[in-house]
């Protein structure tokens, strides 16, 4: 072989370089992995959005309903400042299609992404920790495609990005690994879908926060699931909750599957108060908010107003 190096020399040099890099990396492994990062709870952002729950009805277009709801709570401009990193966290848990109402409506998610970018966000992140294969759920739910088209940075969750958080004031869940992107975000928008749930009776915004939790979530179910749901809110306070009740899964939740179990409620509601949003969700679902344990616990712990004022209106 002509040129500066003979083939043998070339391979030798390559090997040495490779070993060097590997050595650095292994050293990095040893150093990095043994330390578990710790972070504090998420500090919510004070904004001058209105108090209460604002529910838009009367349209067949989820985008229209979403815009109307966000506008009436004050508008995205009052929440997002130029350059902000915004996290829009939908429910992307199950490998089901939008008509089956197991995940958040993709149009609702895409609309929020658009609104956030239009208000000046530098980046909008969309993700969730799925229960089924994440590749499948992101795809079949339609959320990955819709959000990407709207300009969001859609990503699968990574194990390495969970950090341990102490939760002050928690009754049961004293600490837990939570996703750092949510904790570090400038604006955190929680976008749940309203569904029936076998264990808790109903799932909406509070339960949706479970998607930010790492570790063995199965352990949450043992004994006091509703307590833990109430506790984790302390660490993950959302700045805005947009409740997707466009389609509601009435039974066989949280996965469903039968189209007959889905009811077209055609409502999208917005609120800064997670407890208030869930209380309204319970009313849409047809149950007393106090009968859903995690709503009751959160209210007792002073995390939100279970009797907040609700304004329902027709979206034009």
């Amino acid at each position: 072989m002509n040129g500066k190096y003979t083939r043998r020399e070339f391979i030798e040099k390559l090997t040495v370089a490779g070993l060097a890099v590997s050595g650095v990396s292994i050293a990095g492994c040893k150093a990095g992995f043994s330390r578990t990062l710790k972070m504090g709870v998420r500090e919510g952002r004070e904004s001058d959005l209105k108090k209460g729950v604002f529910a838009a009805r009367g349209s067949d277009d989820p985008a229209v309903l979403t815009r109307a709801a966000v506008d009436s709570v004050g508008g995205m401009d009052r929440l997002v400042k130029r350059g902000d990193v915004v996290v829009v966290k939908p429910n992307i848990a199950w490998d089901k299609s939008p008509e089956q109402a197991a995940n958040t409506n993709p149009v609702v998610v895409a609309t929020l992404v658009q609104l956030a970018l239009a208000a000046g966000a530098s980046k909008v992140k969309v993700f969730d920790r799925a229960c089924n294969s994440d590749r499948r759920t992101y795809r079949r739910s339609g959320i990955a495609e819709a959000a990407e088209k709207a300009g969001a940075e859609v990503s699968f969750v990574e194990d390495s990005r969970y950090v341990s958080v102490d939760i002050p004031g928690a009754k049961v869940l004293k600490e837990w690994p939570l996703y750092r992107d949510v904790l570090e975000s400038d604006v955190f928008i929680n976008v749940p879908i309203l569904k029936h749930h076998g264990a808790t009776g109903m799932t909406a915004g509070m339960k949706n926060l479970m998607g930010c939790a790492g570790g063995n979530r199965g352990a949450w179910h043992v004994g006091e699931l509703d307590r833990r749901i109430a506790d984790v809110q302390i660490a993950l306070k959302p700045d805005l909750v947009v409740l997707d009740a466009f389609r509601v899964l009435k039974t066989h939740g949280p996965q469903g599957g039968n189209l007959e179990d889905v009811s077209d409620a055609r409502i999208v509601a917005a609120s800064t108060d997670l407890v208030a949003a869930d209380a309204y969700a319970a009313k849409i679902f047809g149950v007393e908010p106090e009968s859903i344990k995690h709503i009751k616990f959160a209210s007792e712990m002073g995390l939100g107003d279970i009797n907040a004022e609700v304004s329902e209106f027709a979206a034009s």
């Binding site: 890099v21 590997s22 650095v24 990396s25 292994i26 050293a27 990095g28 492994c29 040893k30 150093a31 990095g32 992995f33 199950w94 490998d95 229960c131 089924n132 294969s133 590749r135 499948r136 795809r139 079949r140 390495s160 749930h197 076998g198 264990a199 063995n216 199965g218 352990a219 179910h221 043992v222 004994g223 699931l225 066989h252 949280p254 996965q255 469903g256 599957g257 039968n258 179990d261």
Partner: protein, 776 residues
């Protein structure tokens, strides 16, 4: 042209392509689609083995046939240029084989061994024991890459990348590369396979054979190579040595990686050459060429003797019972991937290649070791604790080269039962303690939930009452996907576990599942008829609300429940009433009671009768009445509708036994089953008491005959018949009939007529009384 350079390039391309196909064997299978298993389908050996095994040519192996044709033209090029095993071995040989060794130093007759192995495999295959998967090089190399190399590569590179993250500059590059690897090269999650150490050791063993000879596997063991060797003996292209040029330096002999060239360099053993062109390259006088000629310089091949041939066949036959019988007696039923028709055809067709395990998105498909006998070695099973079967996924069937796992349509796959879950009440948290859990119910993907919750009040450890939701499995819904077992938070073996089902079953479609009882026969649509409202149901004590006056007779026969529903088609209406009676005789009874003897037989159910606008039929324990209100041809509409309803009833009872007792001249259409005194009034009112003894088990039938109105009564014992006869006689006398006797009968006469009671001879263990009404 430098053929060696060309060959190396082709080998690199072939191996890279092979690896590329493996890497894209991953959800969503959008690249290359059904072609990812191409290399497996090139295996002539597996083609022959599955052909012999199943008795049919598997069309997927057409590429192997193409390869066969190419080999007949070009010779044994596959081994030298394309086979991933060969290429990998060429590479490892370089690392392991001794430098400058004389390739011709080998034990020559060991070359026969590959033919022995081939014969054993084919003979066993003929008798339905599939050994090909153990020794086919494509299966072996695919397994090795799937179970060992790719997971190892993924693990090591991911570790290295992550370690670099905190390092400036390099960390950024690492993130980019890692991200690229994750989306393009890695599987959906870090794979890990049972028995990967064994697979690694086996391959290592094969590679280490290079310490003895290069291409040891190809020379002495490979049964696929044996097939190619046999075929290439007759190929068009042959190796030709110019005897005038050759100087017998033996360079070619020493460097032939297959040890195929005889001492002197002039000829080689037929079939052993893999056309690597090394001999042509090292020959100092350019004496070697590969050309299409009639006769090359090849010598006789290294053949088996006839004894050897027969012994090989014998060994193959001997292997069959050892392999087949090893299956039995294990209580472990592994969960097989969805699409496995039955275990026999699966064992025959499975190539043991590991493609399905590669593509399984949850890493749930794992190789079986010896749990199902050695026959099952390296076949796939689902291990839910490692990975569950995704509800909407059918990828394993899509990539299986031979169709051992059939590709199922998504909706069929969602109803394919591969196993059944069962809860271990000694481990399940809600069952052992007073605490809720419910993870299994939440994750069950079946829309109607195969795990349901029952609310119970239990005492906790301190004696307090607690409300607990306890799960239970609905076996008719469960498809055995294993997500419940995968997610169960109990540590160690899960508290809910799935056991495999073989053969796999198909759950009924949701719309096909009918409610039990009469309402289940009245769906929302029957043919083109659409129900105008919900079905109305009447329980056992509510018949009066439905049919008012006539209900006593229904109760006398034996009534369970009823349902009714109205249907419409255009302007026409159909009303269907369905009665579930206590048994088929009761259904026939009420039918025979209500039908018009002048009606026509519509040919529906066990017995039917149709008159203008109404069709009655009975089938099994059901009695169905259909009334038609409309303008089109009543008979046709009624018959079609009734036939559809009849189709929903699975069982058929035929005629009640007593009908066969009727005399030949009885008018069958007038026959009416009698089971109590109410119905008996159709013969003659004999008071309200049960004079005939129906409550003791008597059965009767009333009918017309040329002699007039008759009734046949059947009793199990003579004493009961005699008792009834005398009690009927007593009753008649008490209302004014005069008794008279004849030979073989008693008569009771009055102005109204004569009742003659004859005793008939016993038939089939029954005592018969025949009552005739003779009018004056």
């Amino acid at each position: 042209m430098n053929m060696i350079k060309l060959r190396r390039i082709v080998q690199v391309i072939s191996l890279l392509f092979f690896l590329f196909l493996l890497v894209v064997t991953v959800y969503p299978l959008s690249i290359m689609g059904g072609w990812v298993d191409l290399y497996m389908r090139l295996s002539l050996l597996q083609m022959l083995a599955t052909w012999l095994n199943t008795g049919g040519f598997i069309i997927a192996f057409l590429p192997a046939v193409v390869l066969l044709a190419l080999t007949l033209v070009l010779g044994r090029f596959f081994c030298g240029w394309v086979c991933p095993m060969g290429i990998t071995l060429d590479f490892t040989d370089r690392l392991i084989a001794r430098r400058g060794a004389d390739d011709s130093r080998e034990i020559l007759k060991w070359k026969r061994a590959k033919y022995v192995i081939l014969l054993i495999v084919l003979a066993a295959a003929y008798f339905e024991a599939n050994l090909a998967g153990w020794l086919d090089p494509l299966s072996l190399i695919t397994r090795t890459y799937v179970e060992v190399v790719l997971p190892g590569f993924e693990f090591v590179t991911a570790l290295l990348f992550r370690g670099l993250y905190p390092v400036p500059v390099l960390g950024g590059a690492a993130r980019v590369f890692h991200s690229f690897f994750k989306t393009s090269l890695y599987a959906l999650q870090q794979p890990a396979f049972h028995g990967m150490a064994a697979t690694a050791l086996i391959f290592l063993g094969i590679a280490l054979l290079a310490l003895f000879n290069r291409r040891f596997w190809c020379r002495f063991i490979c049964p696929l190579g044996a097939v190619f060797a046999l075929v290439s003996r007759y190929s068009v292209f042959k190796r030709v040595v110019d005897p005038d040029k050759c100087i017998a330096c033996n360079k070619c002999v020493k460097n032939c990686r297959m040890g195929a060239i005889l001492e002197g360099g002039l000829s080689e053993y037929r079939g052993e050459c893999v056309e690597c062109f090394t001999c042509r390259d090292v020959c100092p006088v350019d004496a070697v060429s590969f050309r299409p000629v009639m006769k090359g310089t090849a010598q006789e091949p290294v053949n088996l003797s006839r004894r050897g041939f027969l012994w090989s066949l014998g060994a193959g036959l001997a292997a069959v019972p050892i392999v087949r019988l090893s299956r039995g007696g294990s209580e472990r039923v592994p969960i097989r991937p969805p699409g496995v028709a039955d275990i026999d055809s699966f064992m025959q067709k499975c190539l043991r290649c590991g493609q399905c395990m590669r593509v399984c998105p949850t890493n749930g498909l794992q190789p079986v070791w010896t749990e199902t006998g050695i026959e099952g070695l390296w076949t796939p099973e689902l291990v839910p604790r490692i990975g569950y079967c995704e509800f909407n996924c059918n990828l394993c069937g899509a990539v299986c080269p031979s169709g051992a796992i059939k590709k199922l349509a998504e909706d069929v796959k969602q109803r394919t039962v591969i196993g059944l879950a069962a809860i271990d009440h000694d481990r399940c948290i809600p069952w052992t303690g007073a605490r809720n859990c419910l993870v299994c119910e939440e994750h069950c993907p079946v829309p109607d939930k195969a795990i349901r919750l029952r609310l119970e009040i239990v005492l906790d450890a301190f004696g307090n009452e607690v409300e607990i939701k306890r799960p239970y499995v609905v076996q008719e819904e469960c498809i055995g996907c294993g997500i419940c077992e995968a997610r169960c938070p109990v540590s160690g073996p899960a508290a809910i576990r799935v056991t495999g089902i073989m053969p796999q079953e198909l759950k009924q479609r949701r719309t096909e599942v009918r409610e039990r009882g009469p309402a289940g026969l009245l769906p929302a649509a029957v043919g083109g008829w659409k129900a105008t409202e919900d079905v109305m149901k009447f329980g056992q004590d509510r018949l009066y609300e439905f049919i008012n006056g006539g209900s006593e007779i229904y109760y006398e026969y034996g009534f369970e429940s009823a349902a009714t529903r109205e249907y419409a088609l255009g302007a026409d209406e159909m009303v269907a009433d369905v009665f579930e009676m206590s048994d088929p005789d009761a259904a026939f009874g009420i039918f025979s009671n209500e039908r018009d003897p002048g009606g026509v037989d519509p040919g529906v159910g066990d017995a039917g009768s149709m008159t203008f606008g109404q069709l009655l039929f009975c089938k099994s324990s059901y009695y169905v009445k259909v009334n038609y209100y409309g303008s089109i041809d009543a008979d046709k509409a009624l018959t079609e509708f009734a036939a559809a309803i009849s189709g929903f009833i699975d069982d058929s009872a035929g005629m009640p036994e007593i009908m066969s007792e009727l005399p030949p001249d009885a008018d069958v259409k007038t026959a009416m089953l009698v089971e109590g005194p109410l119905v008996m009034r159709n013969f003659l009112y004999m008071g309200d008491t049960d004079v005939a003894g129906f409550s003791d088990g008597a059965r009767g039938v009333i009918f017309d005959s040329p002699r007039g109105r008759e009734m046949l009564l059947l009793y199990g014992e003579e004493s009961a018949a005699l008792k009834a006869e005398s009690s009927i006689g007593e009753h008649l006398k008490s209302v004014g009939y005069m008794e008279a006797s004849g030979s073989g009968y008693n008569e009771y006469g009055s102005d109204a007529g004569v009742v003659r009671i004859s005793e008939l001879s016993k038939g089939r263990g029954a005592y018969k009384l025949r009552l005739s009404l003779i009018t004056k």
